[in-house]
Symmetry: C2
Subunit: 344 residues, 2 copies
């Protein structure tokens, strides 16, 4: 079958690889119906050291179960399922508490020798705990929005949950990528009164406004901080969704948080220490977040996708086949595209 | 009157100063019945640059109201009151939300030209919002515990609240100073099942055990982390109370937190950035905390002091008059004393 392998920064290839097969009795084989390229895939696209074996890419998918191991009980052949970016047993203490990304038997797909989802198919460990069956066909028109349940919508939602968005609040979303845009959707459905997006690309800002953003701040650094303060009566935002992952974006997030507020970080951190230790302290601002437990959020988000109340699939502005994946990376990295959907 | 002035590291003097007087119509004058020396006073005791004017010290007190300005309505002459370390108007949006340390008209006592409480008397701004009247006499035997409502008990409680201590949880308290010991009390009354104190001084550890600590970890750094992991089934603590304020203590707190857990910081941070940005992220650990809104916690804590359910006054192991304050600083700094009470 064909799969996407990254051999180093800027070097993404679609190649023939062996078909996946059941290894553990708890595995399933997923035929990929839709996958996508993640903003976090752009980090290695920019800084991955050259590798002779390469890294199989992709951790977001919807697919059809092709085969199951002999110990798989809940997931059935032929089901259309969401594949969250983390695999998890569904039964450990962390899974039971709603944090499957900390599953004691879990891990991340498209990592550590496992195949990625930008491929025709892949092996799914712990299939019963990991895969979320949907009651739709693979031709369903809502497929783009359903696909976001595997990562990006759940991740934006996680930022909003950790930042404790509540009805009537002032919310700031730092970053206008696909996660930030899903953060806008999440903040709106959780009842935010004001949603300020910090970003500067006209197409993304326009979409953010359609999705619920009430204000736009296109400045950066201290100027952005002052603009947000001005927009929030001098106080700052109750909840800040950090959807970038750089030190600067994190410091901005902390600076614009209202005393007693919270910052939800979902951008994979590319910094060693969280800046502003005294700022967060003297304002009593909470900083939290991490890999989103998207599996645990599907129950809450799925009904709103099915009935059209939210439409996070709008973050996809380009659709490619497997052959188009390398150019998809290039386009996302060049900010020509917000997020690329892949139909193998 | 006599008051404590610090002129530089290690240089604490008790001197005659002008009596305090009403400046604003919202002021009160407080005659100090009990004050104390705070662990945070030891930071300037170790690193304050030499000053010719000096800094008036002390931010924790119980006292009797001697005089009130013409706009003071609620507080009356002759009342015994708790003086929280922050003054606040009691009416702004932050005070209404339970965060008086962020009061838009507030500030910190013993700072910025205001007199401190290690003195015979001091001026209290915004008396109606700041002072908390008690229905006790100044001879009350519970005075040491009541005094802790001005800072140290409320601060330990804040660490526990931010760290989201809940019934049945495993809790770790980093630091065996007076705040850490109050953190043990706070964790116990909030229902923690296991309370691990990280500290190494025998007298403090013995007291921690009496107050509710179930386990003691006297190692430091990576050894401490491994000991806590071993004591918590390999998982770490649901809630970690950081009661020191150094980078190392903060990093230890982060390392021993369980995935999905929280760290409540109440040690004034002596570091620029919160270490372990990737550790907190991949574990989805929340880091929060700051100056405790102790004024807002008195309603909850006072009844338990009055009926003897908690006895945080046990953190005082030395009592001095004003003349003894300089030696009290020396003794606390040398770790000969946990916390010094001052009876002017």
């Amino acid at each position: 079958m064909r799969a996407t392998i990254m051999y180093g920064a800027g070097d993404v290839r679609v190649e023939n690889v062996p078909d996946p097969s059941i290894v553990e009795p708890t595995d399933a084989i997923l035929r990929v119906v839709r996958a996508c390229i993640c903003g976090s895939d752009l980090w290695p696209y920019n800084d991955m050291p050259r590798s002779t074996t390469g890294q199989s890419m992709g951790h977001e998918a919807i697919g059809v179960v092709e085969a199951v191991g002999r110990d798989v009980r809940r997931v059935k052949r032929g089901q259309v399922v969401v594949m969250p970016f983390a695999f998890s047993d569904g039964t450990c203490e962390f899974c039971s508490e709603g944090l499957p990304t900390a599953c004691v038997h879990g891990g991340f797909l498209g990592n550590g020798g496992l195949n990625g989802a930008q491929a025709e198919a892949l092996r799914i460990p712990l299939a019963d705990g990991t895969l979320y069956p949907l009651d739709v066909t693979e031709a369903d028109a809502r497929m783009p929005s359903l696909l976001t349940l595997s990562d990006v919508m759940g991740t934006g939602h996680h930022a909003a949950v950790v930042a404790r968005v509540a009805p009537g609040q002032r919310v700031a979303v730092v970053g206008d990528g696909a996660v930030g845009l899903c953060g806008v959707i999440a903040a709106k459905r959780l009842g935010a009164e004001q949603i300020i997006i910090l970003g500067r690309r006209p197409d993304r800002i326009a979409l953010a406004r359609e999705l619920g953003a009430t204000d736009v701040v296109s400045e950066r650094g201290q100027e952005a901080v002052e603009r947000v303060r001005a927009l929030t009566g001098g106080r700052g935002a109750h909840a800040v969704l950090e959807c970038v992952g750089t030190r600067d974006a994190t410091l901005t997030s902390i600076e614009i948080a209202r005393p007693g507020g919270a910052v939800g970080r979902v951008g994979v951190p590319h910094y060693d220490a969280v800046p502003g230790a005294a700022r967060t302290f003297f304002k009593n601002v909470i900083v939290g977040g991490g890999p989103a437990p998207v599996r645990a959020y599907i129950d809450e988000l799925l009904p709103e996708i099915l009935d059209g109340r939210i439409d996070p699939g709008r973050v996809f502005d380009r659709s490619v086949g497997l052959d188009g994946v390398p150019d998809g990376y290039r386009a996302m990295n060049a900010r020509e595209s917000i997020k690329v959907m892949v139909t193998p």
